[in-house]
């Protein structure tokens, strides 16, 4: 197997300092280089002396490898077919039952049982009833970790400066077996944020606007690295907002989407203690790092956005859209089911009634978010407005339970995707927007922005 020199680079303080202090490297190059496994000659892989560069294919040590209830069973089957009995390090393996929780039917229940049996056999981590990405953010992610998940939105953990990316089930099985995987070092697109949002505009509008401009493959294979023009701008982006942006960056193909570590990150990590022993390694791109592209987004220029139907890069301002009547409004998912999202929805729904032709479903992204929503009185607000408040799960986002769509139904949703048939019938239509726009639309029975409810 692999050998030598950089087998455990964390312990190689000199190497770590050389990489972190190298001004010519991007975040992605540094994050991969400090976890790079030195391998034998003539294997066909790059053997960087100190650091890997964009385009290199290297092998890395992985700090956390997760799968969920719709990708875990295939990973477990692949591991079994390979005849691998042992997991490399159970403390770095996380199984999450989140997509269809609690089980909606017998078939789902049987696959959930398969996951529980695997966890008890290997003594790895199991979470039921919080979305994996939110749980990872709340309890496990640390700056500088390499987190791989059999779920595309694993990239969310980039909001606290982890190198986090989605892969498939069988590759996750390989990581469980060896603790390692090959990665291609991505090129980086650097995006500097400036200004302030207008009323009714949020992080989700920003990322939808960006995806609308670059397209569904606009950042395919690339790292997105976000920065702020001033401290004032930085203060406007909470961890919840950053998580929304990192998560939704997947929809333009990004391999990772990272924010630098600052006081907001450190405060969040201090207030939400990690339950693992992963090291906190703060990584910043060097001042002379080479970027594929560098751009500036002026937040003041962004209007409330809506995406869809059928493709995420079909993005308009709500004003441009024209009249679209809706059957359902969904606030939830890993993209926009955090406490900040539930708070703005409660603010808009408070003392008002959901339109008689519209169902409104609110689904928190984790148990912790659920508890906080109860503590702050949001649940009463939803129920009084006529909305449904569900347990924490992916739920309606994947059309599996708790808000599936019938033939020709139309939904406005804060969830991740609007692809054909994702929430149910192939003839149903999904539009994506911020939780504020979704809540305002629930009140009016048609897609509208939230400006008038936020005076």
């Amino acid at each position: 197997m692999s050998s030598s020199l950089l087998q455990n680079p964390q312990r190689d303080a000199d190497h770590l300092q050389r990489v972190l202090g190298d001004d010519s490297l991007t975040f992605a190059e540094k994050a991969i280089s400090i976890k790079n496994v030195q391998i034998k000659a003539n294997s066909g892989f790059t053997r960087p002396k100190v650091a890997a560069a964009a385009g290199d294919i290297v092998i890395v040590n992985v700090d956390l490898a997760l799968a969920q209830d719709s990708t875990g069973p295939l990973a477990i089957r692949s591991l079994s077919e390979m005849g691998i009995e042992r997991i490399y390090d159970p403390s770095k393996v996380l199984l999450v039952i989140d997509h269809t929780f609690p089980a909606a039917d017998e078939k789902v229940a049987n696959l959930h049982s398969m996951i529980r049996d695997f966890v008890s056999k290997h003594n790895c981590m199991l979470v039921e009833g919080s979305i994996s990405h939110q749980y990872v953010l709340e309890y496990l992610a640390n700056p500088g970790m390499i987190i791989l998940g059999a779920d595309s939105h694993t990239c969310q953990a980039g909001c606290v400066s982890a190198f986090a990316s989605g892969i498939g089930s069988t590759e996750i099985a390989a990581v469980w077996a060896t603790g390692q995987l090959w990665l291609r070092v991505p090129e980086t697109i650097k995006i500097n944020l400036s200004g302030a949002f207008k009323k009714g505009v949020f992080a989700r509008d920003l990322i939808l606007d960006y995806i609308g401009k670059v397209g569904e493959d606009g950042a395919n294979y690339k790292a997105l690295e976000w920065s702020f023009s001033t401290d004032e701008v930085k203060e406007r982006f909470s961890i919840d907002s950053r998580a929304c942006i990192s998560n939704a960056s997947m929809e333009c193909g990004a391999k990772i989407s990272v924010f630098p570590v600052d006081e907001i990150t450190r405060n969040y990590l201090d207030q939400n203690p990690r339950i693992n022993d992963a090291q906190r390694i703060e990584i910043q791109s060097g001042t002379s790092a080479k970027f594929k592209d560098e751009l500036e987004i002026e937040c003041n220029n962004i209007e409330p956005q809506v995406s869809g139907p059928d493709n995420i890069d079909k993005v308009h301002s709500v004003d441009e859209l024209g009249t679209v009547e809706i059957d359902q409004a969904f606030i939830g998912s890993s993209t926009n089911g955090r406490i900040e999202d539930l708070e703005i929805a409660a603010r808009i729904l408070k003392g008002r009634k959901v339109h008689k032709n519209t169902r409104c479903v609110v689904t928190p992204s984790s148990v912790k978010v659920y508890e906080e929503a109860m503590r702050r009185g949001f649940v009463e607000v939803y129920l009084e407005s006529g909305a449904v408040f569900t347990n924490a799960t992916c739920g309606a986002c994947v059309g599996t339970h708790l808000g599936a769509l019938g033939e020709n139904e139309v939904c406005i949703s804060s969830s991740s995707r609007n692809f054909v048939g994702r929430m149910g019938a192939l003839s149903s239509k999904i539009y994506l927007a911020s939780p504020a726009t979704v809540a305002a639309s629930a009140l009016e029975g048609e897609i509208t922005d939230a400006k008038r409810y936020l005076q």
Binding site: S70, L74, M82, D105, V108, G166, I167, G168, N220, L426
Partner: protein
């Protein structure tokens, strides 16, 4: 897909079949919807929902060995490995696209579904054209036009893994992962 459908396995590095032509951004929700893939762990069951988002009867219409030809960003969205698995077990012998989404591309090699990135393929294949796909040479030939297209090269370990029929088959044969020496 008939009962005799058997996915491309070790040794079958040349396949011949009809082209099914699709456009850009064919995402994984189209290739297999969540509500079906999340209720089975059986690849032949997954195959019944291949391309369901565009045509729920696709699995009945295709013949073993047929080839999907698509535009940009094939396989975007979800990380679901069930997407390439459903195509492979439905009888699809290869997917040719102008470009692939990152996770689908990794998954295709991992599960042994040949994914050939051929940027100039747009307009060069019509629905029903007979294609010969050579996995060793990583080429596709359109019999109607006599044109041969060479796919973008991939690292040798990925190519070897694909030729063996994917990561599981590779591991069974060599007792090691293709990227660990």
């Amino acid at each position: 897909m008939g009962n005799d459908a058997s996915p491309n396995v070790t040794g079958h590095t040349i396949s011949k079949g009809s082209a099914w032509v699709f456009g850009d951004n064919i995402n994984t929700d189209i290739i297999i919807p969540f509500r079906f893939k999340s209720r089975t762990n059986d690849p032949y069951e997954m195959a019944k929902y291949a391309m369901y988002g565009l045509d729920p009867e696709f699995h009945n219409k295709i013949s073993n060995g047929d080839v999907i030809v698509a535009g940009r960003n094939f396989g975007g969205g979800s990380s679901r490995e069930q997407a390439p698995v459903a195509l492979r077990y439905a009888g699809v012998s290869a997917v040719i696209a102008e470009s692939f989404a990152r996770i689908f591309y990794r998954n295709a090699f991992t599960i042994g579904l040949p994914a050939l990135e051929i940027p100039e393929i747009r307009g060069k294949v019509m629905q029903g054209d007979e294609l010969i796909v050579n996995i060793t040479k990583f080429t596709a030939e359109n019999i109607r036009t006599n044109e041969i297209f060479v796919a973008q090269k991939v690292p040798e370990f990925m190519h070897q893994m694909l030729i063996e029929g994917g990561l599981v088959e590779y591991y069974k044969k060599y007792k090691r992962l293709p990227w660990i020496y």
